[in-house]
Amino acid sequence: MTKKIKVRYFAGFRESAGIDEEELSLDVSTAGEVFAQLQHRHGSSEPLGHCKVAINDEMADWDSSVHEGDTVLLFPPVAGG
């Protein structure tokens, strides 16, 4: 089922997409499906396990459900410290 969601890109993903965020209508049920459908945006062939996702500012899993109106944050591999 198609859902309206907001997607935000960070660091290398943002540079690849050329935008910070966008509102999209996607036929997805999980965060992992969002990542897969937006491959042309974030340009990553990084394994999903190396990347992270948050939904509405809460850390989530790639199999977490995405609902209408959610904001999905796509995080490339982190490197703090």
Binding site: G12, S16, S45, F75, G80
Partner: protein, 167 residues
């Protein structure tokens, strides 16, 4: 009568600090905030910007932090450390923005009654902070190009991201 250590020392519990800052980290000041009469041990960790990574000369580093989630996740890490180890005070500060060689990028400080738990908790916190918080660093190299650390295959078009970190 049973007296808990907290009441015995009349110690007020200071909230654990997790902070992201664009300003220079001052470890001495941060250390003083952890002083406690019941503490027999203080262990801290400072992560510094070094001038090389993976065979390349590094000019400076740029940190991008998504603060709302970084703070929440940092608080979770400290909560976990508190469950694992009997600690008095805990704090963690991470920089954002552009940093020069030699600057302090991250600071972790813990106090406890004895040294074992202070060492272990400090190690636990910095290790988790590095792999869990939404923080990214871009290295700017002497030779002019730049790359996101750990992001080997983030963008196959447009930029050089072939950098792996061992920091």
């Amino acid at each position: 009568m049973k007296v808990t250590p907290c009441c015995f020392f009349h110690r007020s519990r200071v909230a654990d600090k997790v902070q992201i800052t664009a300003d220079r980290i001052e470890p001495d000041k941060l250390r003083d905030e952890l002083l406690d009469r019941g503490a027999g041990a203080y262990v801290s960790f400072e992560g510094w910007i070094r001038d090389h990574n993976d065979g390349q000369e590094v000019l400076r580093l740029e940190y991008e932090v998504y603060e709302p989630v970084a703070i929440k996740e940092g608080e979770k890490v400290i909560e976990e450390a508190r469950k694992k180890f009997p600690l008095l005070h805990v704090a963690c500060v991470h920089r954002s923005g552009l940093l020069e060689i030699g600057e302090c990028a991250v600071w972790v400080g813990v106090t406890s009654a004895h040294r074992d738990e202070a060492f272990e908790a400090c190690r636990y916190i910095i290790d988790q902070v590095k792999v869990r918080l939404p923080i990214w660093k871009k290295e700017h190299y002497v030779e002019g190009h730049s790359g996101w650390v750990n992001c080997e295959r983030c963008a196959e078009h447009g930029h050089d991201h072939s950098v792996m970190s061992r920091s």
